[in-house]
């Protein structure tokens, strides 16, 4: 079935054929024909943001909370360059996103025309793939292939750059959804022998651990179900990266909490002392491993990943399994059931005994305060008071992000959206907008810091426009808290430019945008104020005034191993000043 239409019509038709219901964007000269087509239909709803970066993060939030591809539409030049941050963010966190950019007409390309930039050149290293469409005949094929590549294999962002004259040109359109247009087809089934070897190692393990990541969530609900079944079958303890929270429930009995730089004591010690490690959909990132030469020295390592380039990149593993998490887990669960291995019960009991002793350290304990709201306390209360709601949490980047990961429990996947790889301050607010558009009746909260939130605060205006009742819960300590913490750790507590002297009045700011502002100063009023926030069906800026100099613990200082953690309760300011050695100071 082919039909004659213009390039701009093809763009909208392809979105409809791909089942896209919402796109996030900002108009401009080089995309006007596409905006004209959007105006004349009602199948695809366009959400107007206030800055292109907001469109990108909103599309990411939409994608991550639904499992579908997020779509952004921006103009040439500055529209495209403003998308660079969200594209890089989506690449680092493996978020499927299609970004359509306008371009100056083909005869002006290379001419330094108004609002021209080399979009495919600039976005080449921050996309999974990108295209400049120079012929109308190529457009239908590229549009549909863009969606296929974004969601196939390890998901990621793609850019389709369409010159304005191509948008006006007529050509034949065909719905090519799902039809493979290039040879790109990553392997999804795991290697049988490798999987058998993995099951054999797991069956003989005395001190096993499952270490899971965002790949489990990207693989879909079936992967989560199988992971939980695997934990049930094996009885193994399980920890997860920041990106993988929610795949195994935080209320589950085998849960050790998050691992890594700000992970729990029990998770990191178990990683260090284990004899068999099963890494599922994670990539041995530097935030996870600490110093690599001291990383889990005595374990056999099994690594399941869909991307072969993740294997042996940072840490050498013994059994690599390349494939989709859901497919591999399905096969391994079946193998385990078939083999019915007899586990060494005494060794397992001893291992859990060791874990319980680490748990008894209560590494997340903090000094309670009656007069000042402790940031950890604020997150704990937010968690408790939102448990009966259908809640999604996004974050910005910094201390509040780590506290959210530590003190907010996630029992389901796709409920936790955070910028893990790139660490983008300003991610959370527009991401929350994207989540709320996809889930209009859910409670969507951006746990924010006072510094991060100001990077994309303008999207509050978009939230008001679309009646998206997002809640922005700011842990306001007047500092760039994580920067200040590192200055204390590394630079003799010289707080160079990490204090914000001129803080806006967030309550008035909320009102100026047409939202609701709420402020909490004292611990005894916090619960009521949070309840008030939840009850409002409007965007809310919640200014939660917290202790200004709290540090985020536990922490593995840079250049240290998992068993050299700093625990919050027992460190003095002196310890903090000397925690990181000369070599560690070179690291980020």
């Amino acid at each position: 079935m082919t039909r004659e239409m213009t390039g701009a019509e093809m763009v909208v038709q392809a979105l409809i054929d791909q089942g896209v219901e919402h796109i996030f964007g900002y108009p401009g000269g080089a995309v006007l024909p596409i905006y004209d087509e959007l105006f004349q239909q009602d199948k695809v709803q366009h959400i107007l943001v206030r800055h292109e970066q907001g469109a990108g993060h909103a599309a990411e939030g939409y994608a991550r909370s639904t499992g579908k591809v997020g779509v952004a539409l921006v103009t040439s030049g500055p529209g495209a360059t403003n998308m660079v941050t969200p594209l890089t963010d989506a690449l680092m966190d493996s978020i499927p996103m299609v970004c359509i950019t306008g371009q100056v007409p083909t005869h002006l390309i290379g001419n330094d025309a108004f609002q021209e930039c080399d979009t495919v050149g600039i976005t080449r290293p921050c996309t999974k793939h990108n295209w400049l469409v120079k012929r109308i005949e190529d457009l239908p094929r590229i549009l549909h292939e863009a969606f296929r590549i974004a969601e196939t294999g390890r998901p990621g962002p793609v850019v389709v750059d369409i010159p304005k004259d191509i948008q006006f040109k007529s050509g034949l359109y065909e719905n090519l959804k799902g039809a493979r247009q290039t040879q790109y087809q990553p392997r999804v089934e795991g290697d049988e022998r490798a999987m058998r070897e993995a099951v054999r190692l797991m069956a003989g393990a005395k001190k096993p651990i499952l270490y899971t990541g965002g790949g489990v969530i990207n693989s879909g609900p079936e992967a989560t179900r199988l992971l939980r079944e695997l934990v049930e079958l094996t009885g193994f303890p399980i920890t997860s990266t920041l990106m993988g929270l929610g795949a195994y429930p935080a209320t589950g009995k085998n849960w050790l909490g998050m691992l890594g730089m700000h992970g729990t004591y029990e998770a990191n010690l178990a990683m260090h002392d284990c004899d068999v490690m099963v890494c599922i959909g994670a990539r041995f990132d530097d935030r996870i491993t600490g110093r690599t030469d001291a990383f889990s020295p005595n374990s056999k390592k099994i690594h399941i990943d869909i991307d072969p380039s993740s294997i042996n990149k940072n840490i050498r593993v013994d059994v690599p399994i390349i494939g989709d998490v859901a497919r591999v887990l399905a096969a391994m669960v079946a193998m385990w059931k078939e083999a019915k291995p007899v586990r060494d019960a005494a060794a397992h009991a001893a291992w859990w005994g060791e874990i319980d002793r680490w748990r008894a350290k209560k590494c997340l304990a903090y000094r309670k305060n009656r007069d000042v709201i402790m940031p950890q306390y604020a997150i704990e209360r937010l968690y408790q008071l939102t448990r009966k709601h259908d809640t999604y949490i996004t974050t910005e980047v910094g201390q509040h992000q780590m506290w959210a990961a530590q003190y907010f429990g996630f029992d389901e996947p796709n409920r936790w959206l955070t910028s893990g790889g790139l660490g983008t301050m300003g991610y959370g607010l527009p991401a929350a907008l994207g989540v709320q558009i996809a889930h209009p009746d859910s409670l969507v909260i951006d746990i924010a810091g006072d510094a991060s939130v100001q990077m994309t605060i303008q999207e509050l205006s978009s939230a008001v426009q679309y009646e998206a009742p997002i809640k922005i819960f700011i842990l306001n300590n007047q500092y760039m808290g994580m920067v200040r913490q590192w200055q204390q750790l590394l630079h003799g507590n010289r707080l160079s430019h990490s204090y914000t002297e001129a803080m806006p009045d967030f309550v008035k700011l909320a009102e100026a945008y047409g939202g609701v502002g709420i402020r909490a100063d004292r611990p005894d009023e916090l619960d009521d104020k949070i309840e008030e926030m939840i009850a409002v069906r409007k965007p809310v800026l919640f200014d939660c005034r917290v202790a200004s100099l709290a540090n985020c613990f536990p922490m593995i200082p840079s250049g240290k191993a998992h068993n050299e953690m700093l625990l919050g309760e027992e460190v003095s300011d002196d310890d903090i000043g000397q925690a990181i050695g000369a070599e560690g100071k070179m690291l980020v």
């Binding site: 793939h129 990553p186 030469d293 990149k313 940072n314 070179m586 690291l587």
Partner: protein, 186 residues
Amino acid sequence: MNAMTTPGQSHSAYFLDDAPKTTERHTLSVLVDNEPGVLARVIGLFSGRGYNIDSLTVSETEHEKHLSRITIVTTGTPMVITQIKNQLDRMVPVHRVIDLTVSGPALERELALIKVRGTGEMRVEALRLAEAFNARVMDATTESFIFEITGKGDKIDQFVTIMVPLGLVEVSRTGVAAIRRGPERT
């Protein structure tokens, strides 16, 4: 200044155990769709991730399928070489990555054009050595030659070194082209 910088010692971003490891030289043959930007993608991968390119050649080799062959000579630790292959292999326009250094015996050739200027005894000596190296004279004036030489890279290196005292002016090299020996496809 505090003790954090040690002169003459470099630190990679995340690895503290950066003791020198043995590096290997590998020749990779990469079959790609001949589409705009494909070479930029490959080069960008190498520069962006800090891999070495010792030699790189590219040309369309199968016109009807729009396929190009990129031949890359690179050096790195075994772990880095594996990374390079995997990173190349996951790119959308890349069809196949073949490591000719491990996939069996392979043939490697490079072509160079070498300009030498001189008169009298020097000129005669240059010509005599060129014959010994099987280099052909492609252009000559009363005071210069341009030689064409093909062979392995180290043979060309050797010839160039010998020409330096005999009046070497400049060199143009194609980079390495490589293919698997025997009847099978590379």
